[in-house]
């Protein structure tokens, strides 16, 4: 994952003391929080993430993708699932919020070809706006396959259309688009694509990997896992990865003669984006 879509200002990660500038709730339980974060906005690349420091302490930080980037402002999309996302969703204008970032290696947009399928499940849509924008900007055709439980949870479709992506939807309950999984639509219509980039819950990503194999396409998957440090220090967020992957950390065999063909890679450090065919799930 060497070349990002749009070469951003190369800057090492830092703690950014940001201030909330705006907040909207496009659907119940989904909150988009905008913050002023000039350095972060200047340096973040598609698919990288930040760690949000909990305003009250007492909990570990939360990994969040970066949704929009415009000028000095970046926004975060929160789906409230537990105490940390609940607390962050309560932030309002003027509140301060510390963010660590940019972290991890994002999507390698240059390797995705000219007709890219972006696949997003639920909050997995958050890190998809930046690659959609960047891919369109370099002339690629972009289709966003976007699935959620129900129509209301499919947020901001117009925003993706505005950056030039075609949006194909699916809902578990059939209230919008295909009635069923978005990966079914991908399997049916996806053969024409040059490559896939996906983000969403693990079961969806496994299904994307299967479909990609069937369609003989390469797929970049942004994995979800519970993080503690988010910076590669604790080895809490691993996934088994081909030893031959360019992203694989160097690691000796466990014992002489006992050669394993995979290593544990840190999702926060070597990822969060991996090539589907290199994962040993």
């Amino acid at each position: 994952m060497e070349t990002p879509c749009m070469p951003a200002l190369e800057m090492s990660p830092a703690v950014h003391a940001t201030v909330v500038s705006d907040r909207r709730e496009p659907a119940p339980g989904i909150v988009i929080v905008g913050v002023r974060a000039p350095q972060l906005a200047a340096s973040i690349r598609a698919g990288q993430f930040v760690m949000a420091v909990p305003p009250s302490g007492e909990r570990v930080s939360t990994a969040l993708g970066v949704y929009e980037v415009e000028g000095d402002r970046v926004s975060l999309m929160l789906v409230v699932v537990g105490p940390r996302t609940r607390e962050l969703a309560l932030l309002s204008d003027g509140d301060s919020l510390a963010l660590l970032g940019p972290l991890g290696n994002g999507f390698d947009c240059d390797s995705l070809g000219d007709d890219v399928a972006l696949v997003a499940g639920g909050v997995g849509v958050a890190p998809m706006l930046l690659p959609a924008r960047d891919l369109v900007a370099r002339g690629a055709r972009v289709t966003l396959y976007y699935g959620a439980r129900t129509a209301r949870a499919l947020v901001d479709i117009a925003l993706f259309e505005a950056v030039g992506a075609t949006v194909v939807t699916a809902t578990d309950d059939g209230t919008l688009g295909h009635h069923g999984y978005v990966t079914d639509v991908l399997a049916r219509d996806g053969a024409r694509h040059s490559a896939i980039a996906a983000c969403g819950p693990s079961p969806m990503l496994r299904s994307v990997a299967r479909v990609a194999r069937q369609l003989d396409l390469r797929a970049q998957l942004s994995l979800e896992e519970t993080f503690a440090c988010g910076v590669g220090a604790c080895w809490g967020c691993v996934v088994p990865l081909d030893r031959s992957s360019a992203q694989a950390p160097k690691f000796p065999d466990a014992a002489a003669g006992e050669s394993r063909d995979y290593v544990h890679a840190r999702i926060c450090k070597e990822g969060p984006v991996f090539w589907a065919h290199e994962l040993r799930w």
Binding site: S12, P13, A14, V15, V53, P54, G57, E58, R59, V60, S61, G82, P83, R84, A98, L100, E225, T226, F227, A228, C229, G230, V231, G232, A233, C234, W235, G236, C237, V238, V239, K250, F251, P252, D253, A254, A255, R260, V263, H264, K269
Partner: protein, 313 residues
């Protein structure tokens, strides 16, 4: 009020620290991972991730579960093993502008001796901490830290092989931590780290299965703070060697609870995951606390709330 800034310098069993704030083993990598976020010159030191004789791939994912005011982890001591560690990693620690404590874990008594000797021989390493919260494969899987005889022998094995300051890390998962502490002191430890994680587990009620790949894990973070403060309090009354307090420290006031209970220095683990600036705000907060009370040095308040500790010094 004192005119000059109070001193945070302290001596942990021969390990001289410019600040009483160390970073807990396994929670801070080698320091380098956090260097973009804080100035490492302002922390006392880093306790490196534990290293073992052989490489270890570690446990299956998931390895982390967030729980109320804390974290469950089961990393399984993933590490490249001492050979690779000495060859590829240790030289990098020379850059760190703070004390570097090597951490040694083992599954047999000999491991503690052999790995300690090889690691301590390196100039980059200022002191050794042994992590004895592992099962002894030769002894029905009994945990070294939970059996006085095993804790003693692991300590002796490491002690025999280095003259550098030796810190032994105790487990809270015992009926009487003070009795283990006394045995480890007698076996030659220079300081005690109190405490490691508390055993726990969490179940996914949707999947009807344990959440951790390893089923059980270690609980850390604010949730265990009262357990850890008591452990420090009890150990401080039982031994004469200094204590490195840890367990749920996030703020200066948390850290001061440990110091007042009898800890000479403290270690921040999970607190770094809450906010990597914690070590700096903790050191600043301790300094302000000392200044407000007219104390010239942190050493003046060690054990100040623990009469049983004061009586022994």
């Amino acid at each position: 009020m004192v005119d000059t800034q109070p001193s945070l310098a302290t001596n942990l069993g021969g390990l001289l620290l410019s600040a009483p704030t160390l970073m807990g083993s396994g929670c801070y990598g080698s320091g380098e991972e956090y260097a973009p976020f804080i100035d490492l010159a302002r922390i006392g030191g880093v306790v490196l991730k534990s290293v073992t004789r052989l490489p270890r791939l570690g446990n299956d994912a998931p390895r982390l579960v967030p729980v109320a005011s804390g974290l469950l982890n089961a990393i399984g001591l993933q590490n490249p093993g001492i050979d690779s560690y000495l060859a590829n990693d240790v030289a990098k620690f020379a850059d760190r502008p703070c004390a570097i404590v090597g951490s040694v874990a083992g599954f047999a008594i000999e491991d503690f001796g052999d790995v300690t000797e090889r690691l301590a021989a390196r100039a980059e390493i200022d002191a050794i901490e042994i992590n004895i919260s592992c099962p002894n494969v030769a002894h029905e899987g009994e945990t070294f830290a939970c059996d006085p005889k095993l804790a003693e022998r692991a300590t002796q094995a490491a002690r025999a092989r280095t003259k550098k300051p030796l810190i032994v890390k105790l487990s809270p998962n015992v009926t009487d931590i003070a009795s283990i502490a006394r045995v480890v002191e007698a076996a030659g430890a220079d300081a005690l780290a109190v405490v490691n994680t508390v055993r726990g587990m969490s179940i996914d009620v949707d999947r009807q299965a344990p959440k951790l790949g390893n089923v059980t894990g270690g609980l850390s973070g604010a949730a265990i703070r009262p357990i850890a403060v008591l452990a420090v309090w009890e150990v401080a009354r039982a031994v004469r060697i200094p204590i490195l307090g840890q367990g749920g420290i996030e703020t200066a006031r948390d850290a001061l609870e440990f110091v007042l209970a009898g800890a000479t220095a403290i270690s921040v683990g999970t607190g770094n995951f809450t906010d990597p600036r914690a070590p700096i705000t903790i050191a600043d907060g301790i300094r302000a606390y000392l200044a407000a009370r007219g104390c010239a040095s942190i050493e003046e308040i060690v054990g100040a709330a623990n009469p049983g500790y004061l009586a022994r010094r």
